[in-house]
């Protein structure tokens, strides 16, 4: 670990924040944080969710105002009235929450705020699409149609557009808040190439990610945040050291050991499941098993998960729960069959953000909690409290709105809900996306704990490393089919990626 | 014979009888039956959501089944709700159908003026009644709303000996009828300085609304010596009963519920006067249209005197119907023949 007092021996930093404070209500997000990034460097910000990285990026990006402290851009103290003020100073941000307008086309989104105008001063719609096509081609993107509505393109594609919007502005400072969380490796590679190109031209790139591999690959320097403060800036930093710094404790083994082999009865048997993007998928998920599902995004995993939860149209020769044939027509039916789904997009597909932690936890079991149609509030509270402790959900109290929690904690609330509902089969769809390292670890332990209790767990992750370490077996999907089944011991991330790519390399 | 038929059907409250009885009795039942071409006369009504309007329309429909209309008139009827543009659209459709006359109960006194002018320009006779229109080319058949308010107020002034506290339950603001009735009442209060209007609020011509609004203002009011009510009278009385307040003399509309109170109802006998807008206005308008079209009556507006009853004159089976609901409008009986006869007399 080599700590450097970097600020001293650099020329004027491209961006500098000193002693910044920011509180939301009673929660202190930034507590006197310092940060500085030079021109032409990639500077990674790491820390747990809620450590203050996103808040800092939003302040530099002009989206939030600091309560105290100052921000300097190219040496000049600035007060940013909004994102457009930051844009004028050359600071562009790719926010973690996507900021594309879903009912507009890709092209309109690319040029929003700096539209091409015709001689009448009106936006030139004719040129819009050809210009957008050009912009996308310049950065090597050919697969996204500028005429498509953002609503109709995938999450990863939206993320790419969000990135393109920022990088085509020739930014002096480019702030990327978790840009890779919805990207697959190939797209990440693309992003890194773009970042390197910008750096060569003197752009200062600030980058956050929860994937240590990415940070190691791209970052020139790393600043670690903990509890709203910077705890050090490094040029070299090992993962374990970083985790120790981020959490303040030492995490010895990153992935917990797998529990013993699963039981021999299947919790869920699927035969010949077909639907949009899925072609004859068959597998058995045993009780106590963590069955991984991997592959490139858009190859049918999502559809498998949502079909099994009754949220997508599908047909199947046979679906059995603990040996009994079942038909799953809708999510209600799935819940009745004790199947639970934890989706990737917890904001739109699971949690009710304005409602309290307690309400969100007990939502699916209100019927059991009720007597004569009235909810037994005391019982509800007791159950919720137990769960909050068991899952280590960091919330001020049970009544705080879920929307105010950090991403990782939101994910835990969602998991907790299905724990309460006593589901036999848990479909966990990319649950660790955008979650900090320490929380990830807690989620891993939770997942394995659930397996140990006899739940069957189908686990999709966009992170191959995670699949390799957390699953008894891994199904790799390609073009809607199961292309490979890998079994422990000895699954590696490389194997998974290779299996997913095999056909692709030749296409 | 006429009377017998009259009584029987009235009790069924269908309104059919009145029409048959009164018109069959008129000396004009002959006339154009021999004529080849029938007149096309349409009723364009706005709102149809209360008993009064339904009775009004039933009377019109019933008349069409009887002579002389059966042989002289092809009738039709339309409702638009209180939607002016829809009524205007329907009127233009009637013009397109090339009717001979439109009998009109308008959603607005002015908003149809444009389309009425277009109708008149095309030689279509427009006879408006009840909520009459201002368009000069339209004939008007109505009661005198100023007189309505005045008669009610005069009754109270007499009962109260010229002094005391009165409440005024008004109608739908912004309408001609509401305004005129209020003016009529105010003209009487001005002559009696001893009478104080302690509260004036709207009952929206609706018993439920009147009851609710009365209940909410009543606790803040001093002793009330007279109730002046444009509509929803039974609701106002019920609110007084619910608040355990003595019921002073009441001057109100022709709701059957109010009239039941006048003969003793729910343990209360109310001293009052009840005036109603007669639903047979539609018939008078229809008759006027027919007569004007056949050239037997000049193009002239008609004003009809109000039929009214007091607690002394109210009669079970004629002006009050204990078996019918409170919301029924009980007032078309005694004056029915009279009003039609009046046209006839005028015409003669």
């Amino acid at each position: 670990m080599t700590a450097k007092t970097a600020i001293g021996d650099m020329p004027t930093p491209a961006v500098e924040a000193s002693n910044v404070r920011k509180a939301f209500g009673g929660v202190v997000a930034l507590d006197g944080a310092n940060f500085s990034a030079a021109s032409g460097e990639v500077h990674a910000l790491v820390g747990e969710n809620g450590a203050g990285k996103s808040t800092l990026i939003k302040i530099i990006g002009g989206r939030l105002h600091a309560d105290a402290g100052e921000v300097r851009i190219a040496g000049r103290k600035v007060v940013l009235s909004g994102p457009d003020a930051a844009h004028r100073l050359g600071a562009w941000t790719v926010f973690q929450e996507l900021t594309l307008l879903t009912w507009m086309t890709v092209a309109e989104n690319l040029f929003l705020g700096h539209e091409i105008r015709n001689s009448l001063g009106l936006i030139a719609r004719g040129k819009l699409f050809s210009k957008a096509e050009q912009v996308l081609a310049d950065v090597g993107i050919f697969h996204i149609d500028p005429r498509a509505l953002v609503e109709d393109i995938s999450l990863a594609e939206r993320q790419l557009i969000e990135i393109v919007r920022a990088i085509t502005q020739n930014p002096q400072i480019l702030l990327l808040d978790e840009p890779t969380s919805s990207l697959v490796e190939r797209e990440t590679v693309w992003l890194f190439e773009q970042i390197r190109r910008l750096c060569k031209n003197g752009t200062s790139v600030v980058f956050t990610s929860h994937r240590w591999n990415e940070i190691r690959t791209i970052a020139d320097r790393i600043t670690v945040f903990r509890n709203g403060k910077d705890v050090g800036t490094f040029t070299e930093l090992g993962e374990e050291e970083a985790v120790t710094l981020m959490t303040g404790t030492r995490v010895d083994v990153f992935f917990p050991p797998l529990p013993q082999a699963p039981q021999s009865q299947p919790a869920l048997s699927v035969r010949e499941l077909s639907g949009p993007r899925i072609k004859s998928v068959s597998f058995d998920l045993y009780k106590g098993e963590v069955l991984g599902m991997g592959g490139l995004a858009g190859h049918g995993h999502r559809e498998v998960f949502f079909s099994l939860f009754g949220a997508e149209p599908h047909s199947a020769e046979r679906i059995e729960m603990s040996g009994k044939p079942v038909r799953i027509r809708n999510p209600r039916g799935a819940v009745r069959q004790r199947i639970a789904l934890v989706p990737e997009d917890r904001k739109t597909e699971g949690l009710l953000l304005p409602l309290s932690v307690r309400n969100n936890l007990t939502l699916t079991i209100l019927r059991q909690l009720s007597r004569f149609g009235l909810v037994r509030v005391g019982e509800e509270r007791r159950l919720a409290q137990t769960l909050v402790e068991r899952l280590k959900i960091r919330a001020r109290d049970l009544f705080v709105a879920v929307g105010a929690l950090s991403g990782g904690n939101q994910q835990k609330v969602l998991l907790g809900r299905w724990l309460l509902a006593a589901s036999d089969v848990l479909l966990l769809y990319d649950v660790t996306r955008g979650v900090d390292v320490a929380t990830k670890h807690e989620i891993y332990e939770l997942v394995l704990g659930l397996a140990r209790e006899g739940h069957g767990i189908l686990f999709y992750s966009s992170d191959a490393e995670e699949l390799a370490h957390l699953c008894h077996r891994v199904l790799v999907m390609r073009e809607g089919r199961i292309a490979a089944v890998l079994s422990q011991p000895g699954i590696t991330a490389e194997q998974i990626v290779a299996a997913a790519m095999r056909e692709h390399a030749t296409v | 014979m006429t009377n017998k038929l009259h009584r029987r059907v009235l009790l069924r409250a269908s309104g059919l009888a009145l029409a048959s009885a009164s018109f069959a009795a008129t000396p004009f039942a002959h006339s154009r039956a021999a004529n080849k071409k029938k007149f096309k006369i349409a009723l364009s009504n706005s709102y149809i959501g209360n008993k009064w309007r339904i009775e009004m329309e039933n009377l019109f429909k019933a008349a069409l089944l009887m002579e002389p209309y059966k042989s002289e008139v092809i009738g039709s009827w339309f409702n638009s709700g209180n939607d002016v543009s829809k009524q205007s659209q329907q009127m233009s459709n009637l013009i397109a159908e090339r009717v001979d006359a439109i009998v009109l109960n308008a959603a607005s006194p002015t908003a149809l003026d444009g389309i009425i002018k277009q109708a008149s320009d095309r030689g279509i006779l427009v006879v408006s009644f009840d909520n009459v229109v201002t368009a000069p080319s339209a004939l008007k058949v109505n009661t005198d709303q100023f007189e309505f308010g005045k008669t009610l107020a005069e009754f109270l002034a007499k009962k109260m000996g010229g002094k005391g506290n009165v409440i005024m339950v008004t109608g739908v603001a912004g309408t001609h009828v509401d305004l005129e009735r209020n003016r009529g009442a105010d003209s009487v209060w001005q002559q009696h300085p001893g009478i104080k209007v302690v509260s004036r609020y709207t009952g929206m011509w609706d018993s439920a609304t009147a009851e609710r609004n009365t209940a909410s203002v009543l606790p803040s009011l001093p002793q009330i010596d007279g109730i002046w009510c444009q509509g929803g009278t039974d609701g106002v009385i019920k609110a007084f009963i619910a608040a355990n307040r003595p019921i002073p003399p009441v001057a109100g509309e022709a709701e059957n519920g109010f009239r039941k109170f006048m003969i003793g109802y729910m343990g209360h006998k109310v001293d009052g006067i009840s005036i109603g807008q007669p639903p047979f206005l539609s018939l008078v308008a229809l008759e006027l249209a027919r007569r004007v079209l056949s050239g037997t009556y000049p193009k002239k507006d008609i004003t009809i005197p109000f039929p009214y009853v007091t607690s002394e004159t109210v009669k079970v089976g004629e002006t009050v119907f204990p078996n019918l609901p409170d919301s029924f409008f009980a007032d078309f009986t005694d004056a029915g023949e009279h009003a039609v006869l009046k046209i006839c007399v005028d015409a003669a």
Binding site: M104, L112, L122 | V84, S85, Q89, S92, E97, D113, I115
Partner: protein
């Protein structure tokens, strides 16, 4: 990390492209559906009309239908601008009452008076719309609440201006807005369509759609939420005032209560026109066509001689069917493409 190095893809290519026409179809499905709906209802109207009258609708029928629909067309425009920002303007009807009442009281036969008062009434409409906008955008109040309150205020003001129906609108004014000679008023519809297309290409037009689509995202793109919302309500107030003028011109006299019904019917027209009540999606052109569909429904029911007591029922049924069908077809088309 080995796999990053291993892959040497620089371009993210996937050669699949839909045609521009296919995109246009999918993205304007609301507008296309309301066109189909309008054509279908006009055909149905002509058919039923022919069956009843043994001739086709002529100049009078077309002119009076267009003239009768004009106030609703304007009211629908007013509603659209606000609905696109994910708001709702319940004060449209009140604004129409007020504008109608003032017009009936003030307009006299001289050209100067007509021009001056029309401009003044539109300016007042804009000012009162601004009030709505300020309360919604700066006061951060719910649009429904704000405009419900201002609806009553505007209605109250209107009754003060014109306590009893009356007044008169000069014939020349009627002739200019809703000529009874021929459906010249359609020219206004076309003009508004062209204006809307231009407006859609201005910064404000884009901002209004963006704010309704996702306010936070719009803010991140540098769009001023407050200014955009205020502008939308101001514009809506002005358009509603214009609707009131058309109403007065059509009636040739004033009535301070006739605008009331337009609040709801403007929302109906907007929905029929394929504008999403959740904001960010739709076209004012669709809303104008939606207004005409509403009128055609009235006409069709009239000539089909259904018992008037059931007309309201059929009207509601028709509306529900139209909206459900439009939604279903829209979803199908988007899914298929």
């Amino acid at each position: 990390m080995p796999q990053y190095k291993a892959m040497e893809h620089t371009a993210l290519a996937q050669p699949f492209r839909r045609s521009a026409a296919a995109h246009a179809l999918g993205q304007n499905i609301g507008l296309i559906l309301v066109c189909i709906l309008l054509i279908a209802s006009i055909l149905a109207y002509c058919g039923i009309y022919y069956a009843a009258q043994e001739r086709l609708p002529g100049g009078f029928e077309i002119t009076s239908t267009v003239n009768n629909t004009m106030p609703l067309v304007l009211a629908a425009l007013a509603q659209t601008v606000v609905v696109l920002t994910r708001g709702l303007d319940l004060s449209v009807g009140g604004m129409m009452d007020l504008s109608n009442a003032i017009a009936a009281v003030t307009l006299s036969a001289s050209l100067g008076s007509m021009v001056f008062w029309s401009v003044a009434i539109l300016a007042l409409g804009a000012l009162l719309g601004l009030l709505n906008g300020v309360l919604v955008a700066i006061g951060r109040l719910q649009p429904i609440l704000v405009t419900l309150a201002t609806l009553s205020i505007f209605q109250g003001l209107a009754i003060r201006v014109l306590p009893q129906p009356g007044g008169a609108v000069p014939e020349a004014y009627t002739a200019a807005l809703v000529s009874t000679k021929a459906p010249y008023a359609l020219l206004y519809v076309i003009a508004f369509g062209v204006l809307w297309s231009a407006f859609r290409r201005t910064r404000l037009g884009v901002s209004i759609l963006a704010v309704g689509n996702d306010a936070q995202a719009a803010r991140a793109h540098g769009i001023d939420l407050i200014r955009t919302r205020i502008a939308a309500y101001t514009l809506s107030g002005m358009l509603a005032a214009a609707a009131g003028l058309f109403l007065a011109a059509n009636a040739t006299a004033g009535d301070a209560t006739t605008g009331n019904g337009y609040t709801l019917s403007s929302i109906v027209a907007v929905v029929l026109g394929g504008v999403s009540l959740f904001g960010g999606r739709g076209s004012a052109i669709g809303a104008m066509l939606g207004a005409f569909v509403s009128s055609m429904i009235v006409n069709i029911l009239f000539f089909s001689h259904i018992d008037p007591l059931y007309q309201a029922f059929y009207e509601g049924l028709f509306l529900v069917l139209a909206v459900v069908l439009a939604e279903a077809v829209g979803r199908l088309v988007r899914k298929a493409s």
